[in-house]
Symmetry: C2
Subunit: 257 residues, 2 copies
């Protein structure tokens, strides 16, 4: 069971979109996958057609210690399971800080929950953790629980500005709480190679980060923005779209790393 | 002096882009304006060509009570001043929670800082508060300090999903800590009317929110994404671009409300 955190504190770069569609592509290739929604906004939960206020959520697992197996639900995509979010997650930062005085134990709640699940999870190959747009306690929990981090980014200035700080945070968390934590890769999203800005950013990031950047580049495609309103991944919404093939290539790269 | 919070917990909708370019358009029309960067990412600070680690920042005003006048800097745009961010702002939530046990006083730090500044600020007509992508203490401080909230949104499903929760939060803050807080308006950003999705979202939001939606719609324009890398607003980077005229129309609407 390999755990990937999908993280970037920059907002709107495609963390949720990557989690849904990489998760669905992994499931289609026969790798049973669980996606976890760590964002109080609940975009991942809605994108998979699940309701936000029924039954347990990741809040119950993180704050009240509910077993993950009790929280996980099936989705309309065979082989893809989801651990839904809940608006109360917005208070988890302060609640965990009040509840658990030891910073390491506070940061390791999700890791402990996944360890327990790992022992009973029949045949789950991948767990993808969708992070909120911040470097707060929920994202830190994901970095401590993960084997590697996948960083979606847009080919724009603000996204580039945040990259160095994000990678510093990953190194810091790896140094103190999770020595195994690795960088899976940097993924370009919403790529429109017709603009100079996109080409310049891609060239600069590939020059600086080399092999740590995935070959696969996800194009800007309105189909990707439409699919969530139907509660299904792109491969169900528009199976012939170019991006479906690229997510499948990304699967091969993720598995190879 | 009218204080506007530019807020939306959904990431990447254009909060910073709106703050920079509305601020610059207000200054050009003769309304002296201060923009405040409440996001630890520091995108607003970089977009105005200021460095993140020189001198005081908004952190010093919020956590250590430094007067705002000592933090504010000039920018390359005449009549536009800026209160820079600092990465230490990422810890402000927990530090303020530890420092100040009373939730109301914790939520009113920025308001107190602006009240003191209001008495000495010669001729400042507008203050714009750029919020991070969350509904945490920094955004709550902005909502408590503000006369009204301007909500940028993308014409996409996830952005729509978050709108109701954001407006609930605004009402809740208005009800408990800031009865004057009003909705200035909802602003469509990155509008591409060629897609069905954009047209459907605009139609649905205008139907539901009516006059609370600005007439002005900011088009998707790569020039807007290029300008921050030069540290200048769009009106300096590409004065003839269509969006410059639309920000000017937005100024008229904001002043009229
Ligand atoms: N390749 C793409 N082409 C077109 N639209 C996209 C693409 N990737 C993401 N989007 C759209 O862009 C918006 C931002 O993406 P998404 O919400 O997945 O980013 P995020 O990083 O999860 O945001 P947040 O920081 O709020 O969690 C969404 O409306 C999504 O539908
Ligand atoms: N109208 C537009 N046309 C083209 N690009 C835009 C437009 N508005 C914003 N952008 C670009 O889209 C990205 C997101 O915008 P921005 O960073 O201002 O959003 P934000 O809401 O402040 O994000 P965050 O949630 O991370 O604070 C940026 O790279 C910005 O340059
Ligand atoms: Mg997301
Ligand atoms: Mg911003």
């Amino acid at each position: 069971m390999r755990v990937l955190a999908i993280a970037n504190q920059k907002g709107g770069v495609g963390k949720t979109t990557t989690t849904v569609n990489l998760g669905a592509a992994l499931a289609r290739r026969g790798h049973r996958t669980v996606v976890v929604d760590l964002d109080p906004q609940g975009n991942l939960t809605a994108a998979l057609g699940l309701s936000l206020d029924e039954g347990f959520s990741v809040y119950d697992a993180l704050v009240d210690g509910e077993p993950l197996a009790a929280v996980i639900r099936t989705t309309s995509t065979s082989g893809l399971l989801a651990c839904p979010s809940d608006p109360s997650l917005a208070g988890a930062d302060l609640e965990l800080a009040a509840d658990e005085p030891d910073p390491q134990r506070r940061a390791s709640r999700l890791r402990a929950s996944l360890e327990a699940y790992r022992n009973e999870a029949t045949g789950v190959a991948f767990v993808l953790l969708d992070c909120p747009p911040s470097l707060g306690l929920l994202t830190v929990n994901a970095l401590v629980a993960a084997d590697a981090v996948l960083v979606p980014m847009q080919c724009e200035y603000f996204s580039m500005q945040g990259l160095a700080r994000l990678l510093d945070t990953v190194e810091r968390v790896a140094g103190t709480w999770n020595p195994e934590l690795d960088l899976s890769g940097i993924l370009f999203n919403m790529v429109d190679r017709r603009t100079n800005l996109t080409r310049q950013v891609i060239e600069e990031v590939r020059r600086e980060f080399g092999a740590r950047v995935f070959e696969s580049e996800i194009p800007r495609s309105v189909r990707l923005a439409e699919a969530p309103s139907h509660g299904i991944p792109l491969q169900s919404h528009d199976p012939r779209s170019r991006a479906v093939g690229i997510y499948s290539e990304l699967v091969s790269e993720v598995i190879a790393r």
